[in-house]
Symmetry: C2
Subunit: 221 residues, 2 copies
């Protein structure tokens, strides 16, 4: 998404001041890309003898493709919901607001083999179109209904791809012009084992080259 017009306003010395260069040390390779999104994945239970829906958290989840929207999730094959996702071909990504953090954590440290997580968390499974098996979590501010479109085993996790085929969003996230304000959802983030709320707005895509009047209008909101 390169803005070619922007190159009119840039030069080889756009930033005059230098930033400090921290002293560094080497570490062994690890999974330190951060912050990462925290989501709750809900699944149906039609493939199990006890036909109850379940909620898992995953090591990672992300958007992989824009058009059509395709997400990827990393799931270990030994997880209880692995079969539920691949046999039904469906899952729902539920975004996690601040008031859901503790329940999200709980769903990550318990197994659907032993616990009815919807019941234990006091959460409500609701149908989400056009899926037939996987429910959405009613209490989450935004639900992405996904149909499995691909599946790649990696050494420890499987990469499962899903096309987003439907979205339900809280009406409180929209302004009077029907524009979505996802920042109103009080979403949380995850850094190296810790959950954080989000803080101050720092800028918007393209703000580094925006004209002063655009900056003033958009950053005051």
């Amino acid at each position: 998404m390169v803005n070619r017009a922007a190159n009119q306003r840039i030069s080889d010395s756009f930033y005059k001041e230098k930033l400090p260069q921290p002293s560094k040390r080497s570490m062994d390779p690890g999974t330190l890309l951060a912050p990462v999104p925290v989501v709750m994945i809900s699944t149906g239970g039609s493939c199990y003898s006890v036909k109850r829906p379940n909620i898992i958290t995953v090591a990672w989840a992300g958007t992989l493709n824009s058009d059509p929207p395709i997400v990827g999730i990393g799931v270990r094959p030994e997880r209880y919901s692995y079969d539920a996702i691949l046999k039904s071909g469906e899952f729902v990504i539920n975004l996690v607001s601040r008031d859901l953090v503790s329940r999200c954590d709980y769903c990550g440290v318990t197994s659907g083999r032993e616990v009815d997580k919807f019941a234990a968390c006091g959460l409500t499974p609701v149908p989400i179109a056009p899926l037939e098996d996987a429910p959405a979590i009613a209490e989450s501010p935004l639900n992405l209904a996904c149909r499995v479109t691909g599946h790649s085993p990696l050494p420890s996790h499987d990469l499962i791809l899903g096309e987003v085929v439907g979205i339900e969003a809280a009406t409180s996230l929209f302004d009077s012009d029907n524009a979505l304000h996802l920042e109103r959802a009080d979403l949380i983030s995850y850094i190296h084992g810790q959950y954080y709320e989000l803080g101050k707005l720092l800028g918007f895509f393209g703000y580094s080259i925006a004209r002063p009047e655009v900056l003033a209008r958009r950053l005051k909101k």
Copy 2:
């Protein structure tokens, strides 16, 4: 990473209080998984006639596998750095601290075809072992050196997989026991086109079932 011991301390009514269920409306499918990480990808220039390194931002980046650590990035084939990554087989993921946000945004809206982004941003390319072509950004608090291990074309973006083969981290991120505190890096997050700083610590992985003395010790830090 299910904690089986945890199931000793849970029941089907772990959470007594109910959360509100927001009223919802349907939306067209889109890329609304959030918040997402913001990273700067640095590449070498050995495949180009002008052999300068470059910095791009990507639609998404995430950890795909834990052991060995494998990351994935989504890059449109028409991006200038697409060849630099695939021909050298190398790229570096540089985490973005608050003081790098504006430069990161700038690197996302300009093209390395026209601009020397390291020079324009006043940033410093430095070698990172064991890579030979792609440099790290010295001013970033943490750099992940990646070697390309796979590559899957998706409809609009290519999914490029890279194994993390080396890490450089700012010494200020370590405590006196040599434990890493990535939360000290002032990392930023991205929601629906907007950059946010991170706020208050809400909990740690497993905190929902932790004993009160563990909670008190770990959340007071």
